[in-house]
Symmetry: C2
Subunit: 213 residues, 2 copies
C-alpha cells in the first residue's frame, strides 16, 4: 500500500483502515481486509480498538483533527491578496492531491451527515465566517442578506471537486483535481462570483426578499 515499515502496528492499522474506509466505505471494508493490508492479525485490531466501530470512531476523530488543524494553519486571516485567495486554494488542492484518502474520507463524512462530518462543516463555517467578515470590512465582498447560507454554499462549491470526486471523474473522464479540470472549476466559480449570473435585464420578480414558491 505504501510505506508501512518502521511504524508501530497500531499506527499501521490506523493508516490502513483510513485508506480502506476512504476507498470502499466503512461497511464494505472488513476487519480481515484491514488486518491483511496492515500485516497483522484481525484479533489485534480488536485488541487495540475494542471493535470495528471503535476503530472507526478513532479514525473519524483523527480525520477531524487533521483537517481542522490544516485549515487553521492554511488560512492566514490577514495580509495580501495572494494569501487571502490563492494560498488556501492551492493548499487545499495540494493536500487532497498528496493525501487523496483524506478527501475520500471527508466526502463520506459529509455524505452521510454524521457527527464527524458535522464537526468539520462547523469548523469550515467558522473559518469562512471570519474570512467573509474580514473581506466585508475591507470592502472586497458585498454584505450578504444571509451570511450563513452564503458561506455554506461557498464551502460546498469550493469543495465540489472533493465532494463529488467519483461523479466528476466519470463525467470528465479524469480526476477533478487534475490541474486543468480544477483550474476550470475555480475559474468558472470566480467568474460568477465576480460578475454574477444574471444581467440587469433579467426579470427576477421579488426573489431575494419575497417568498418562495
Amino acid at each position: 500500500m505504501e510505506d508501512l515499515e518502521g511504524l508501530t502496528a497500531e499506527a499501521r492499522i490506523r493508516r490502513t483502515a483510513l485508506a480502506l474506509f476512504a476507498e470502499h466505505g466503512y461497511d464494505a471494508t472488513t476487519v480481515r481486509a484491514i488486518a491483511d493490508a496492515a500485516g497483522v492479525s484481525p484479533a489485534l485490531i480488536l485488541h487495540h480498538f475494542g471493535s470495528k466501530a471503535g476503530l472507526r470512531k478513532s479514525i473519524d476523530a483523527e480525520v477531524v483533527k487533521t483537517i481542522s488543524s490544516f485549515v487553521d494553519d492554511q488560512i492566514p486571516m490577514s495580509g495580501t491578496v495572494d494569501e487571502a485567495f490563492e494560498a488556501p486554494e492551492a493548499g487545499f488542492r495540494e493536500l487532497f492531491t498528496n493525501r487523496p484518502e483524506l478527501g475520500s474520507y471527508i466526502r463520506r463524512l459529509f455524505f452521510d451527515g454524521d457527527e464527524a462530518g458535522l464537526q468539520i462543516l462547523r469548523h469550515f463555517m467558522q473559518i469562512s465566517r471570519s474570512l467573509s467578515s474580514t473581506f466585508e470590512e475591507r470592502g472586497w465582498v458585498r454584505e450578504a442578506p444571509d451570511p450563513e447560507m452564503r458561506d455554506l454554499q461557498l464551502i460546498i462549491i469550493e469543495m465540489g471537486p472533493v465532494l463529488f470526486y467519483p461523479l466528476l471523474a466519470a463525467y470528465f473522464e479524469k480526476p477533478p483535481l487534475t490541474e486543468d479540470v480544477h483550474h476550470r472549476w475555480v475559474a468558472s466559480e470566480f467568474d460568477v462570483l465576480m460578475h454574477g449570473l444574471f444581467t440587469a435585464e433579467a426579470p427576477r420578480p421579488d426573489r431575494p426578499e419575497g417568498d418562495a414558491g
Copy 2:
C-alpha cells in the same frame, strides 16, 4: 411502509427496495429485509430479478427514467419568467418532498458516481445547457467563459438540499427541504447570482483567464 395493497408482488418488491436502498444504502439493505417489508419470501425477489445486483440495476434504471421524464415535463424551455424560474424550482421541491426516497436515491447515485448517477447528471446538463442558451439569447444571463462548468456548478448548488440532505438536516436541525430553510437556500443562491460576491474594489489578479496556483 405505505400503500402496498393492490399491487403485484413484483411492484411491491420494487417499491420497497427503492425505499430501503434510499434510506440505508444498497449494502446495508438485505434481501430478507426487502422481502419482509414487501410481504414476500426472499426467494421471490431472486425469482423476479435474478440477483440482488439485478434488482438494483432494475431500480437504478427506473429512477433514471422517472427523474429524467419529470425534468423533461417540468422545464418548459419557453415562455414567461415564472415558468422559467419559479415553476421548476417549486416542482423540484414538491417532487422531493412528496417522494423523499427519490431524493435519497439520487443522492447516493451522485455520491458514488456510477453509471446511473452519471446518466442523470448528463440529462441535467443537457436541460441546463438548453435553458442557459435560451436565457443568454434573451439577454437575461451573461455569456459564460466556460458554459459547461457554470452549468455544472449551478446544478450542484441547485440540488444542494437534496445532495447534502443528511448533513444539512444535522446542521440546521431540521430537514433542508423544509419551506423556510429551502427558501433561505434559494434566496441566498439568487442573491449571489444576481449581484456576484465580490465588489469592484476586490483585487483579484488575473484569475478568470490566468493560470491557477
